[in-house]
């Protein structure tokens, strides 16, 4: 790499504008008459130095703040457009998204769908924008941080005259006939918590350098945040599933790879009750709404852990972990997993009972109870009496051709074809029984199946959630905030005191809050023969004294 050797002897990297050590302009890029542009200490930024190869161009593109801000604006605008219509997850699952948006919102809806706004966070162009934003943050930081760090590390106590003169805060005091107590000055600087470096009666006082790293710390936080978001798609990091459990049912918890099982012991749904003493306070509200107001949704569950290696389908070897009552906002948490109450279904049929009955005399010959989720092929009653289950339709409907069939396997509307075998009808009589229906396909029967009762049970739906990226997102957020605070509440202030023959030169620089710096200097020079240095920027406003200063 080509290097630039300054007359002070320090070797600077190519592209350097101000010598890292003494501050003399080595790049010949700045107007000699103006104040120095102190951004990034005049260090050699790659993006400002090379612009030939394709790598240079890409690098320069991403290190540009303009590009970064544009990307943020584009992402913001896209995100806000994404909120105009509902996202795909929230539209009814009965209509495909390709039809829904056009149907609901017309031509604009169609365009919305075609451009991928319906699934914004997964659309390729949105991800590309976010990815480019991440690259921009990282590259812009690298491009600025390392040269700046190098420059501040290599700075010397004694700065070149031209550097001093062209600082915004600068002043000269002729001290030929007065004593100047440098020790008093350093004492005062130290009192204001400046770190002092001295060399042959010259002083460099510096404080708050770490505030210069604020933006980079902040960017590291952002990058960690983005990485956390990315990790969601890595298997094992993130689970978001739903499990339905009927009362008494036990199932593998989805997303746990067979490690955990859950049993639903009971689902409880409570409403506020006027008659209940506890709810007295709510009587007015209950009367006002007129409908039941939900008080509690609760699943009483038992969590089990699978012990040992068991194949799917094999009988699981379960070890009870704990009983728990899951309520809204009171999830069952275990081993990074959390189970939240999300939905329920009340009073699903589970068992039905019938009497075998003589239609005329209404004499009963025993009852049978059918488990609607596990019916038996036949039921023995009193001696000589039995009932065969010829067909069972858990969710019964008639097909177009008039044959009975079932829509699903869930017993929403159970129907049965029974064969009733009795001593006087040993061949059996066939009866079709559904809710409020009794058909005798083979003509008039002597016996019938009379409805005796029904048992119901509730079902609960739980969301299974696991998110190992949360910690990373938190860390990213905290680092982000540390960076903000670091850069916002502290300033990097430097004061140079240079002895030049019979003169003492004072120059000051800060990255923000010039008033604070001036006050610091005023406190140092008061009661000493030293003049308070002037703010050359203010002076320039009134008259262009640039030449005078550099002269």
């Amino acid at each position: 790499m080509d290097e630039l050797k300054c007359e002070c002897g320090h070797v600077n990297p190519t592209g350097t504008i101000l010598c890292e050590a003494c501050g003399k302009a080595v790049g010949n890029r700045q107007n000699e008459n103006k104040l120095l542009d102190m951004r990034y200490e005049g260090s050699a930024r790659r993006s400002q130095t090379y612009n030939k190869s394709i790598i240079d161009k890409i690098w320069n593109f991403f290190s540009s703040v303009k590009v970064g801000v544009s990307l943020i604006v584009i992402a913001l605008v896209a995100s806000s457009i994404g909120t105009i219509f509902p996202q795909e997850t929230y539209i009814p699952s009965t209509i495909p998204a390709s039809e829904y948006y056009e149907q609901e919102y017309g031509a604009f809806g169609k365009l919305y769908y075609l451009l991928g706004f319906h699934n914004l966070y997964s659309s390729w162009w949105y991800l590309v924008i976010i990815g480019m934003l991440g690259m921009s943050i990282l590259i812009a930081s690298i491009d600025r941080f390392f040269p700046l760090y190098r420059s501040l590390k290599n700075q010397k106590v004694v700065r070149h005259d031209s550097f001093m003169k062209r600082q915004r805060i600068f002043g000269i005091t002729n001290v030929s006939n007065q004593e100047v107590n440098l020790e008093q000055i350093t004492e005062r600087l130290k009192k204001q918590r400046y770190r002092i470096r001295e060399e042959n009666g010259n002083i460099l006082a510096e404080k708050g350098r770490f505030s210069r790293w604020g933006p980079y710390v902040n960017h590291i936080g952002l990058i960690i945040f983005l990485i956390g978001g990315l990790l969601r798609s890595v298997p094992g990091m993130y689970v978001d599933k739903v499990v339905w459990l009927r009362e008494g049912e036990m199932k593998e918890i989805p997303g746990t790879n067979g490690e955990y099982y859950l049993k639903n012991n009971a689902f409880i749904f409570e409403v506020y009750d006027k008659g209940n003493k506890e709810d007295e306070a709510f009587v007015k509200a209950i009367e006002k709404t007129g409908t039941a107001i939900a008080k509690n949704y609760q699943s009483n569950v038992t969590l089990y852990k699978q012990e040992g290696e068991v194949l799917p389908g094999e009988k699981p070897q379960l070890q009870k972990v704990k009983d728990f009552e899951i309520k809204v906002n009171e999830p069952l948490k275990h081993d990074h997993y959390a189970l939240y109450q999300v939905d329920y279904k009340l009073n699903e049929f589970s068992k039905m009972s019938f009497y075998l009955m003589d239609k005329k005399t209404e004499e009963k010959f025993g009852t049978l109870t059918i488990d609607l989720n596990d019916p038996k092929p036949s039921y023995q009653l009193k001696k000589g009496y039995s009932v065969e289950l010829m067909s069972y339709f858990p969710d019964f409907e008639f097909k177009e051709n008039g044959e009975p069939t079932t829509k699903t396997r869930i017993p929403n509307n159970p129907a049965f074809i029974f064969k009733m075998v009795t001593p006087d009808k040993p061949e059996g009589e066939v009866s079709f029984v559904a809710i409020r229906e009794n058909i005798e396909p083979a003509g008039e029967n002597v016996y019938k199946m009379a409805f005796a009762g029904v048992e119901t049970r509730n079902a609960t739906a739980l969301t299974v959630r696991k998110d190992l990226t949360l910690g990373i997102l938190f860390a990213g957020g905290i680092i982000f905030m540390i960076g903000v605070v670091q850069g916002a509440y502290w300033n990097h202030r430097r004061i140079w005191v240079k002895r030049k023959g019979e003169e003492i030169w004072i120059a000051g620089h800060t990255n923000k809050n010039w008033h604070g710096l001036k006050r610091d200097i005023a406190l140092v020079v008061q009661t000493t023969p030293l003049f308070e240095p002037t703010d050359q920027l203010n002076e320039e406003k009134f008259s262009n004294k640039g030449e005078e200063i550099s002269g």
């Binding site: 997964s122 798609s233 890595v234 194949l311 858990p394």
Partner: protein
């Protein structure tokens, strides 16, 4: 040089993010060419079937339900092809998605099925194979690898083609 490396790394990260995002939907499915998840189920005659015991043979693994019409539709074809291929080293395993014994038994006798039919009561095998919706059929070759996943009803000709594919 340094910048080239950084740009390459960042570019790779971006490509990876896009890739994982677009394979997100298929990542929820069994990957073709991956090893078929092993399982043990007991058929309606009480015989245990362990998938790994069928190494060296092709296995057509069918998931079905009695209420599912397309499942019912393909059953007779599977029955025919089962007889044609069972001596050529292709097995059919029909896994019901967890209905009652009564429902499955009456379905089996109504359709005179002779291939092994089993019930996945705990729905663990369905979870392992990410079954949804029905019917779905997996073709497993003699090395125990999933070579195809077919959703929807199969015609007899299709079944025969598939049987040829997994014939050892």
């Amino acid at each position: 040089m340094m910048r080239t490396v950084i740009l390459l790394l960042l570019g790779a990260a971006l490509v990876y993010a896009l890739y994982t995002n677009f394979t997100k939907d298929t990542a929820n499915q069994i990957q073709m060419g991956s090893e078929a998840p092993n399982f043990v189920l007991t058929d309606m005659d009480g015989n245990e079937h362990k998938l790994s015991d069928y190494r060296g043979q092709g296995v057509m693994l069918n998931f079905w339900g009695t209420w599912c019409k397309p499942c019912e539709y393909e059953m007779p074809y599977m029955e025919n092809q089962y007889h044609a291929y069972k001596d050529q080293g292709v097995q059919i395993l029909a896994v019901n998605v967890g209905e009652s014994n009564y429902a499955v038994n009456s379905f089996v006798s109504r359709h005179n099925l002779s291939f092994p039919v089993m019930i996945d009561k705990g729905q663990e095998v369905q979870v392992a194979y990410r079954v949804d919706p029905l019917p779905v059929t997996f073709l497993i070759d003699k090395e125990g690898k999933v070579i195809d996943r077919i959703t929807g009803s199969l015609t007899e000709a299709k079944i025969q083609q598939h049987m040829e594919k997994i014939k050892p």
